[in-house]
């Protein structure tokens, strides 16, 4: 395994330091407790604060989405490991302007437990906190017998739209309600062509033969739902989009945001091949492609693969999606 690193133990620290140096116009970085990446002008008077976070290795999620119109703070944990409650609490304090704070949490056991603990501590300090759990991954059967669906690329859309709602001055209750609405209308499914390697582990998170594809992959290199022989891209795209449309039936003339997300090791050119087929499937069904987003936003280190996300939108969600955003990884209208 080759990686562009100095020391496996310092991968996160040095990455955060570089991010801080590159984007000092957008963020300030707190290193004790490690790490809080806060919007440079936080707390923004009168505004609900948005905090998200989770294990590192999914960059640009979440730090890349800190800035005007999106997150007020991001809390990166160790590689693929939820942050501890201390920095989550610190982030919450840093961004609270008196209007309360929304925690946006991907549905993984560790993230949920650590954010819950931090929210309890914040409450004890008099800060009003609400939490929204993102669980958009249709690959996982949502039942009593699993930890529930995972939060994957749909998280980006929850953060964007809730961020716009907070920026326009909505109350904490309203921002939380919008975030939950986005989560209830967004679905994702991904695949991997090749696994990733956590630097300190030094070995791939799972094995895939040269001609195999893992369908229903998560974003931590955890194996997915089934393993099949490699097929042409169009057929693989169908295998991702069909479960989404089964899970969230869309009618003719429904409008969607289509996000094709790279896992870190797949070139943009291939993401557009995926997009091409996904858009074709939507067109065949008479579903309106309202907005498109193509890129590597919610990654799994250098994993080769992609995910497809569909968000069903109404006028309000579309307006909020279009609202100006200025972050390291997403920027438009400003």
């Amino acid at each position: 395994m080759k990686k562009l690193i100095n020391d496996p133990a310092k991968t996160v620290d040095e990455g955060v330091a570089g991010f801080a140096a590159a984007h000092s116009d957008l963020v300030r970085v707190i290193v004790d407790p490690p790490f809080v990446i806060a919007r440079a002008d936080a707390p923004v008077p009168g505004k609900v604060g948005l905090v998200s976070g989770g294990g590192s290795g999914h960059e640009p999620l979440h730090a890349g989405f800190v800035g005007y119109g999106m997150l007020d703070a991001a809390v990166p944990g160790a590689m693929f490991t939820s942050p501890t409650p201390d920095p989550i609490l610190e982030a919450t304090k840093q961004v609270d302007a008196g209007a309360g704070v929304l925690h946006i949490v991907k549905n993984y056991t560790g993230d949920v437990l650590n954010f819950e603990t931090a929210a309890d501590l914040a409450l004890a300090e008099g800060i009003e906190v609400q939490s929204v759990i993102v669980d958009d991954d249709v690959a996982v059967k949502d039942s009593l017998y699993t930890a529930g669906r995972r939060g994957v690329a749909g998280t980006l859309l929850v953060e964007k739209i809730a961020g716009a709602a907070a920026e326009r001055g909505d109350s904490l209750d309203r921002v939380a309600e919008i975030a939950r609405r986005v989560n209830s209308q967004v679905r994702s499914m991904g695949l991997a062509l090749a696994p990733c390697t956590v630097p300190h582990a030094g070995e791939p998170s799972f094995e895939l033969a040269e001609d195999e594809v893992e369908i229903g992959i998560g974003i931590h290199g955890e194996p997915g739902r089934e393993r099949i022989a490699l097929e042409p891209a169009d057929r693989l795209v169908d295998r991702l989009i069909e479960p989404i449309l089964e899970d969230m039936p869309l009618a003719k003339d429904d409008r969607v945001v289509l996000l094709v997300n790279g896992m870190g090791g797949t070139p943009q050119s291939e993401l557009y091949i995926v997009f091409r087929r996904a858009a074709e499937v939507l067109a065949e069904r008479g579903i309106t492609l309202a907005r498109s987003l193509v890129g590597s936003f919610v990654t799994s280190l250098e994993m080769q693969g992609a995910s497809i996300t569909l968000l069903k939108v109404d006028d309000e969600l579309l307006d909020l999606y279009d609202a100006p955003v200025q972050t390291a990884a997403l920027r438009w209208g400003r």
Binding site: A78, P83, G110, T146
Partner: protein, 207 residues
Amino acid sequence: MSGLDGAWTRRWIEAIAAEVAARKSELTSLDRAIGDGDHGENLDRGFQAVLGKLDALEADAAPGAVLKLVATTLISTVGGAAGPLYGTAFLKGAMAAGDRAELDARALVEVLTAARDGIVARGKAEPGDKTMVDAWSPAVDAAAAAGDDVRGVLEAAASAAEEGAAATEPLVAHKGRASYLGERAAGHRDPGAESTALILRAAAATS
């Protein structure tokens, strides 16, 4: 030995730290099979941080004070699911120990029971879900039935935890990241159950 005092509690924690450091890769590879491959790394980071803080404790600190320091340190350094779960276990154990200078067999069983109950409340897992509860639960049951000798209680808890951890191998996981795998989780030992067995075995081995 009549009871377990603060000095014993420190030696136990030091033994855990040494054992976790030695078996870090093994725990991580168990986790890589059915989780996200960071369990050994995370626990090692936590217990190394605990070692760094033990010296700052007063020399005659009671068992409860040592356990509380372990709890707060694990919560703030481990992350993942293991941080809040083990943190809660040690915190509830510390509360059960109170300010007693020595733990006799009965107090020890109360500490272990409180730790197990804390983990169950926080993680909402039940026996058979293929989690650390599958090691904690039989350990507490065995400890409660082991009689009045602390060494006997520790040995019973450690053996039952080891058997419980081994018994997670054929199970399908219902909690945590391994639950995403469905049937594919069967055939692998749960890393949290294994680290629980490690922790309780270290207690039995500490004189």
